[in-house]
Symmetry: C2
Subunit: 882 residues, 2 copies
């Protein structure tokens, strides 16, 4: 393969499909050239050269020869000569990696200028000011990016200081208004800065300038910023960047010139309208710099009618050619249009949906292609209000993004106060060191919840996600003084009643009331989701614990409930009292008495859920968390509970103490509770089956699936399944009816996965609890990982946060094993996933590959999962777990 690819005069050595070799920018310049679109000629040095250079730290003779030859071709195409004092060829040098990547060297313009060629440029342009300003710009850019002179944070950019001084002295606003002598002096000062700071003279030889710039582009591939960016975005280090050397065209040659950027559609809304801005007599950097207010693109129609028509035509051509919304850069040089870049445009989620939708209507895309075009993760924006993303806001503190969306409210530190303020019509944000079940009523009315402690599975996080409510958890920098009604972070003190804005999608807290944007669900969104449903193989269910959540989930297109956590039903109001009585009872009799009070409450909950899910399956997980999670921790709560129970505080404290575990995650929880206290399983099964019978009597089509948590050994499931089935029989006889139901288990421990064949002898379904499976497989407590997991991800020890995206090499291997063993034993085995990975697009792809029947995720992620599931189908066919 050649190292250098030429493009110009309607011909190009490469094309759009060569982006791996030419980088995105180079590939598209070549493609545009081939399409007959006016692009200044140039050439691209391939990404392969980048590796060679970074190893040897020199440009090979062969390469230099190729560059010379390409330069000769460029001279021929432009009719100018590189370094010719009379008619100089000037070029821009730009980096361009296969994937868009900030943090690398961007652009050097006007390369080839020196004291001699600047005279030639004056002659070509007939504008000495323009020529001198171009020269000034070149030296400044080169000084910045090739010599790396940016100044210390204290002094600032030394080039800018010289400029500011000159403008002050000349009493002008813009450099171009300076006189020629001043411009010349500035350029000389710039060169002096370079020689003083580097000990090297600024290169006058255009060839030296060129090789210096090329080397600088390649070197910028390995700057810290670039390396960090690649690490965070999982971009392989060996991609490398290409270098584009393009003949200069000028938007700053006078009022008949200009430059601009445009989108073929509105990138905010997706509306099919040509959208952009331009400046007359300016270079691209001026548009970006914001020193002059650019004009709306529509005004070009009057100022440059011909060029505008040509631009519209080109934009339309490019969109049709690439079958996607384009983001283009152009320059008009003395009335003539040149395209400098085109690429697929970044867009908001709303725009992404609308563009994909419209392009199907326009015949540009098939439905499948449209479904493939929208990034599922982006949909989160549509489902929750967000902070206006077009504005930057100072960040007060950052915690874990525990439950997405944004909210504004007045700070309160106490659940009762939250209720009180809410009743007075004030939106509140509940800020606590950590939350407990006693805070539930406050959490329910708060706009958002913020905690200083606890992780992504802390009480606050889990409850907030269940309610689809914004939450930032584990915001460690907060020093909270709850009784005093204030918290401190760094130097700032925030008091009760102060306004804050919480962003649960990023984990950021902001002072004050920021504006929120609610993009809502459009017609186009629903249409796209329908197409996705037509494509996907995986079914999508929701994790929902209440009738309200269940309805929400159904609205979002859930095809059933994959996880109904019964424990959350016990957190509210009086329920928690009965629950505590049950836990603290000294024998089965006492437990039964307390459970009897809970039975009608649970039955009512289940009935509501069955009604919401008429015709769809509902997977109900029996009590899972360690019992002490239901017990109070605060002193006053303990006193109160002791009074209620009629025991001394000491005795209660002792009981709480005894129930406390060293590692509750691995303790007395899940089916271990039901096995040691079968009366709990009996009560819960009875509530489920009684509710099912009542619903059935109302004409509702119920499909309960009873799920046993934390099975590690097949005999645990046998034990619990027997209790459930015996209870079902008893209820059916009492109610004189029968309901079809399934009994299955979570697969959330390595041992369960490894012995899935034996478990499948009893289980009618498996549901992978990938949260706990990840915790146990990696020996990694999600709540405690904060001190090292970020470091692991930053330094690339882990590719991804394993709690966000399934660790396919470890956890995935167990899932694979379990699916194979389980299905081999029981061909009718239903298999799903209900861990939070069920809402993560990458993990959904994996679930599709494993041949799972469904994924289940929080209601607000259901659309994301539907789209991701459809994309997974498009990428390949289900392989039933290979």
């Amino acid at each position: 393969m050649p190292d250098v690819y030429f493009f110009g005069n309607g011909k190009a050595d490469g094309g759009a499909s060569d982006s791996h070799v030419l980088g995105g920018k180079g590939a598209n310049l070549a493609e545009m050239t081939r399409l007959g679109i006016p692009v200044p000629p140039g050439f691209t040095i391939s990404t392969a050269v980048c590796h060679k250079y970074l190893e040897s730290r020199e440009l090979s003779d062969e390469l230099l020869a190729e560059i010379k030859a390409s330069m000769a071709a460029l001279e021929e195409a432009t009719g100018k000569r590189f370094g010719d004092p009379k008619n100089p060829l000037l070029v821009s040098v730009r980096s361009g990696a296969p994937v868009s990547m900030p943090g690398m060297m961007d652009t050097i313009l006007n390369l080839g200028l020196n004291d001699k060629t600047v005279v030639g440029l004056t002659r070509q342009s007939g504008n000495e000011g323009f020529a001198l300003d171009s020269y000034r710009r070149f030296v400044q850019m080169y000084g910045n990016v090739v010599f790396g002179i940016w100044g210390t944070p204290q002094e600032g950019d030394p080039f800018e200081r010289v400029l500011d001084l000159a403008k002050e002295e000349g009493n002008v606003d813009r450099e171009i208004e300076l006189g020629c002598p001043e411009l010349g002096a500035i350029t000389r000062s710039f060169k002096k800065i370079v020689s003083q700071r580097t000990g090297e003279e600024f290169p006058d030889d255009p060839w030296k300038q060129l090789t210096g710039a090329i080397e600088a582009v390649f070197s910028s591939w390995n700057t810290k910023r670039a390396v960090d960016y690649r690490r965070v975005h999982h971009i392989p280090d060996d991609l490398g960047t290409a270098v584009n050397v393009v003949a200069m065209v000028y938007g700053n040659m006078g009022e008949d010139s200009g430059t601009g950027v445009a989108f073929t559609r509105d990138p905010s809304t997706g509306e099919k309208t040509f959208y952009g801005e331009f400046l007359t007599n300016a270079q691209g950097e001026d548009v970006v710099a914001g020193t002059r207010d650019p004009l709306p693109i529509a005004e070009m129609a009057e100022l440059f009618p011909e060029a505008f028509d040509q631009l519209l035509d080109t934009a339309s051509k490019l969109e049709k050619h690439f079958r996607d919304m384009q983001d283009i850069e152009f320059t008009i040089e003395r009335g003539k249009l040149f395209m400098l870049q085109t690429r697929c445009a970044k867009r908001t989620a709303g725009a992404a949906v609308r563009v994909a939708h419209d392009m199907v209507r326009e015949g540009l895309l098939t439905k499948e292609q449209a479904v493939g075009r929208v990034d599922p993760d982006q949909l989160d924006q549509l489902l929750h209000p967000t902070i206006d993303p077009t504005v930057e806001h100072p960040i007060l503190a950052t915690g874990l993004p525990a439950s997405p969306g944004a909210a504004v409210g007045k700070v309160v530190f106490d659940a009762d106060e939250a209720v009180e303020q809410n009743e007075q019509g004030h939106p509140v944000v509940l800020v606590r060191t950590e939350t407990s079940p006693d805070d539930f009523h406050g959490m329910a009315v708060a706009q958002a919840i913020v905690t200083a402690r606890g992780g992504m599975t802390s009480h606050a996080a889990v409850v907030a996600r269940g309610m689809g409510k914004c939450c930032v958890a584990g915001c460690k920098d907060l020093d909270i003084f709850e009784t005093e009604g204030r918290f401190r972070v760094d130097g700032t003190v925030v008091k009760r009643g102060d306004w804050i804005t919480v962003d649960g999608s990023t984990g950021n807290l902001h002072l004050g009331q920021l504006e929120l944007v609610d993009q809502g669900l459009s017609e186009e969104f629903n249409q796209l989701m329908d197409w996705a449903d037509g494509i996907k193989v995986l079914r999508v269910r929701a994790n929902a614990d209440t009738p309200a959540d269940a309805s929400k989930a159904r609205e979002f297109g859930a095809q059933g409930i994959g996880l109904c956590r019964t424990e959350h039903m016990f957190f509210e109001g009086e329920r928690i009292q009965s629950m505590r009585e049950m836990i603290l009872a000294s024998n089965a009799e006492g437990r039964r008495r307390a459970l009897a009070k809970l039975l009608p409450i649970q039955r009512e909950d289940f009935l509501g859920i069955f009604r919401s899910m008429d015709g769809l399956p509902v997977t109900i997980r029996l009590l899972d968390p360690p019992l002490h999670e239901f017990l109070p921790r605060a002193d006053n709560e303990i006193v109160e509970l002791a009074e209620n129970l009629g025991v001394t505080v000491e005795i209660l404290r002792h009981q709480i103490d005894v129930l406390t575990e060293n590692n509750p995650m691995l303790g007395h929880r899940g089916c271990r509770l039901g096995i040691t206290y079968p009366e709990i399983t009996e009560m819960q099964s009875r509530a489920i089956f009684e509710a099912a019978c009542i619903a059935d009597g109302e004409g509702i089509d119920v499909h309960p699936e009873i799920m046993i948590p934390l099975t590690s050994h097949h005999r645990e499931l046998e034990n619990q399944s027997a209790v459930v089935k015996a209870t079902a029989e008893r209820v059916f006889i009492e109610q004189k009816t029968r309901i079809r139901y399934l009994v299955g288990t979570m697969i959330e421990l390595p041992r369960a996965a490894l012995t899935a064949d034996k478990i499948a002898e009893t289980a009618e379904f498996f549901s992978f609890g990938t949260n706990d499976l990840t915790q146990t497989t990696l020996g990694l407590s999600r709540d405690d990982a904060g001190r090292f997991l970020p470091h692991y991800i930053e330094t690339g020890i882990f590719n991804n946060d394993p709690f966000q995206t399934i660790d396919t090499d470890g956890v995935g291997k167990l899932i694979d094993t379990a699916v194979k063993l389980g299905r081999n034993e029981n061909h009718k085995l239903k298999v799903g996933i209900c861990g939070e990975h069920g809402g993560d697009p990458k993990s959904i792809h994996f679930c599709h590959e494993m041949g799972l029947d469904y994924v289940s995720c929080s209601p607000f992620r259901v659309p994301i999962a539907r789209l991701a599931a459809a994309q997974a189908s498009l990428n390949g066919h289900s392989t039933n777990g290979s």
Copy 2:
């Protein structure tokens, strides 16, 4: 197969190898008959019949026909007839399962007696008193075991009450001294008791008596006691019991008769001396009942010279035949010897070793057979003092058997007090709610440690095992009031200074000073161990953290150290201060300063260990536990530490709080520490390599193996291995020498096992940390399992305690996977195990099957492991992990 097997007159339908069909007792009666040994004739109803009976609850006609036929044969052999009033045949009916199993119906003697046949017995024996007493015994036994009449606990056995009354009235000590009219009246009273309590007449028909007894034997297979026993001892329920029906012989026919039990060698010491007891004019039950003092067997030589010679001869014949020490029962009827039973004798560990050893010398066994004869678990008795097992003692409380052995001491509640008392020459037992590193000095001087909280891996347990010191942990029934110097358990209060005896092998506490037995290590023991070493394939290493432990381990035959836990080195005295400084330092600089103080201490520790282990490998694990384990918990300790560090108590508390984890087991520990704080790994590596260089300079042959803990991802190991190797290079240059060493990792997380191929690219060895691997694979915290694990084992959900014996289906599958993946990647990979399973015989068998290179266990279990490893070799050949 027939249902009934006859034996008599030197011929038998079965033999010793048929114990599965005939039960142990029946098989050996048949075998003795075949050997020409005098055994009363009889027949055995096979175990197969037991199943049939338990299903149908009736004896089939075919079976009854077979029994009749066998009875006819028995009549022929004895010349008597069943039910014949003139010359009645009487039989005993006894159960006999394939494995010895208490809790089932044992024996009915004299079956066939009724008001008519008793006259015949009088005629046969010429002794009416004997006949009437036999009749009385029969009705009493039958009433007890067939009719199940035992009386309530309040009233006691109603038959015994009648007897006691009669003896009182007759003013005699023994029933046989009663007159014939009285004996007859007693028997009639017995029959009345039966008819009053059951509503059924006592059966006079001998055939009814016989079938009733047979049914009772079969039914006793399913009594609660028998079922519980089988569950605990993992005996399959479907074995069933056989029934032995044997012609009666009488040791109570007068002074020329007698009965006894004997061992062919001394079951306590193993000495080759005929050992046993006998009673004249008695039946077997009298020997057991203890109402008369039996005579030493040697006195038989005078009383029954002929029978005694015959008995010695028979005993010798049986021992040679079975090639094992026998436990025999015999009866002398009017001078004629009959053998009633023979079986392999139960024996102490010391006896087991000596018998196995001696029998090789005697040519009875090969060395291999001898090695196979000793139960490795039993050796524990030899290695620790134990409470005299021949005496029963009331139990004060029971906790977890956290570290074996027994000890006696005065109760203290505080480490300083322990030291003080110890200095005054008082042995002490340190009793604490739980221990912390601050208690170390007290633990070091205590005879034993008792805690109310914490499990088998709690601080107390781990430290005690490391020191080979007796410990009972998690003794939940203890209410400890440390400051008041007392603890309460049930009603009993134990105060400071009271004597208690602690049994760390059973977990029992006893009040007072019990006598301890120290069996010591004999010549024979060492010889047996040598033979074992010659047979075993697995190497046996020890887990040892100090030079003293290392020496102990070497004494016990360890072939290296498989696990040296460096954290224990930080618990003592000033070290913990520097450790705390390190932990609480706010930056790497502060940590380095504190670590610099620890460096010379660690180096010295390692040097001592290298010296102890000259020529053998030493695997050193880098810091593993979460850092907060090193921080104080008690208020006064926190105050003291705050003073030392020059911070406020509030700040220190906050720091401790921040370091506290929800699930420390899955938290910031293991290599995660070394990755976030590389300076720790650097210090520890430096200490190891500097010590190795010094030892090398002393002419010691050092083989350090540096082990990285808690690897879950191969990149963690790469990271830490690089730090270790860089440090090694630095030290080698400084010290101007080089040491060969290995770098490897613990495999203690499921993910590590599942990705062992990638890990083996870097690792030079694997060591399975089966404690943590079990915790994570089963999702089971060893410290918290106390509330449900015992229930799981009792009810058979788990076959074994997975922390004692490797869970082969789950954890074992991961080990298998890891060994295969690892060795496939790296053929030279050394693989061992260092979890506590490394000292468990069943687990050692598994390790052998997996083809591991070595097991490592606590020093005191090294001999057990050597023996178990040899037995594993004898059972089959290493299959390299199939």
